[in-house]
Symmetry: C2
Subunit: 325 residues, 2 copies
């Protein structure tokens, strides 16, 4: 007779504005998850006591019930985090993350293994960094040897990441400021003044987004800041309703990101990792621009990535059967 699987690992996805905790079985199944707003910039108190308090609040009872290893990833390993873990350089074999990880020990004696971020520093280029996405990437491709062999992972967001996977390693990656620039333009620029929440006709949101994507697909180098001004003139001249101008602007920015990202992407599958609504926008733009459909839309692979980190670190055995009481 099966009963509840036992806790074998606690995994923390600890970012700037939020903290998520996962209680995992020995086989990597998520038994329970919790979220708090104790991101590293929003701790209950400053500095080390704040990390201790946030940690105890989100999973102290789990550890009291059953002492297990704890792993963490994200901004908790940054210079403003609990301990600064240096970036691992690309090409970065994802199975080697533990070798570049660092440990902290709580006042209560609990050890926490914190993952490193990645740095991509091509010769003659500009460096790029990520912290937290490497865990999501590791989780996204963990179950698929073909994706580990070769894939392009796109993680849309405030700072979208495009990562090239080759032979189990992150060969390189690039960051696009798509989400942040969209928010700035909508919230603070002249473009936002004409954007409204007015109800739009059926299909009008999608049509405006597709028009932005189509313009991006035809753009030459440097055309973005000119095309963005079209958000204003299409609104001013009444050719596009205020309620869909934000969709047009979003289509332009996402379209430009995809055009540029695909130019550096190898053959093989493209995986979209993130919120379903945002991934759906990217999937539509990707197909419109390239005719390629994403191989998968993956919502939150962070628990699997942290599980893999723990296995690679020898904290638990990936082949262990879940314990049945």
């Amino acid at each position: 007779m099966m009963t509840d699987e036992q806790t074998a690992l606690i995994a923390l996805d600890w970012g700037t504005s939020s903290l998520r905790a996962f209680r995992l079985s020995a086989g990597g199944r998520v038994l329970e998850s919790r979220a708090s707003d104790h991101g590293i910039q929003h701790l209950p108190e400053p500095g080390l006591p704040g990390f201790e308090a946030a940690f105890a609040a989100i999973c102290g009872d789990w550890l009291a019930a059953r002492p297990v290893p704890v792993v963490a990833g994200g901004m908790v390993g940054s210079a403003q985090g609990w301990a600064e873990v240096p970036y691992l350089p690309c090409p970065a074999d994802l199975s080697q993350l533990p070798g570049a990880a660092a440990s902290v020990r709580t006042a209560a004696g609990q050890e926490i293994l914190i993952a490193p971020g990645l740095i991509h520093d091509p010769e003659g280029g500009t460096p790029d960094v990520m912290r937290g996405e490497e865990i999501q990437i590791a989780g996204a491709i963990a179950a698929r040897p073909d994706w580990q062999a070769s894939a392009t992972l796109v993680l849309p967001g405030t700072h979208s990441k495009w990562a090239r996977i080759r032979d189990g390693a992150v060969a390189g990656f690039a960051t696009y400021m798509t989400g942040e620039i969209f928010a700035l333009l909508r919230g603070h620029s002249i473009l936002g003044r004409l954007m409204t929440d007015a109800p739009a006709a059926e299909g009008a949101h999608a049509a405006a987004f597709a028009k932005g994507v189509a313009m991006a697909a035809e753009a030459g180098p440097g055309d973005l800041t000119r095309q963005l001004f079209g958000t204003r003139t299409l609104g001013l001249t009444g050719r596009m309703a205020g309620g869909v101008l934000a969709d047009f602007c979003s289509g332009l920015l996402i379209g430009h990101e995809i055009v540029s990202g695909l130019a550096a992407a190898p053959e093989g599958p493209v995986l979209l990792v993130g919120s379903p609504a945002l991934c759906a926008r990217y999937a539509g733009a990707l197909e419109q621009i390239s005719g390629r459909a994403p191989a998968a839309l993956i919502e939150n692979p962070a628990p699997q990535g942290l599980y893999r980190l723990a296995c690679d670190a020898g904290l638990l055995s990936p082949n262990a059967e879940d314990t049945h009481a």
Copy 2:
């Protein structure tokens, strides 16, 4: 014996945030200029009384001393202005601006001729608009038949304009949001956090700007929002000092604008119109990208453009000798 030239025209450059007035001779010489902060969004009181009051304050005494024609250009002719003057479509013969102008009459009976803006609405493209720049363009090329025949005018700023001149007409133009996006990134984005006012080594500002321009020159379509993130990573990794990160970001944005603008520019002279400091940045980037030197840097041709408007409207004769008492 020569005495002071007499006033023959009062010309107003009336924008969103400022109002400038010029007292001109019959030959088009600026005898006196004044500026106030009574732009159309900053009138002393709302609506028509605000326009009347701002007008009386800046040039009422000039008109009392000698009644002369008054012309105006800029946002004073917009929907939020004293009177809305419809856009003149491109290709727009600059000598035909008066035919699309409108007049208002003050409570005191003074007529003011207000110039139209321009709209460029290419088939299959997005429309673009300008209001005020057409006056600067008219003034910039007024004295040079060769520039009237063929030239590219660049007016850098919050919303930079690139205008193509052919046979005395504005054949078309494009707007780039360069200045506004730079201000947003510096003031409100993650990029601004690493920018400082720290003193930089000699030449470091220029070198950082040139690096941004060089990256723009090599960019493919859609690369801008990726390259912008380099402002953060170059700062984070200590490869560029905080005091020059704004220069790098500026070089990227201006470089992208120039790459795109030149792709649509015909052969022939490129003229830069605007503040000397900003025009110098554009001149440097233009030469770095294309090897082309600007044919001229023109600081403020608005008085000459308004003078030409008055002449073309028949309000005074362009061949009149300045009056000598």
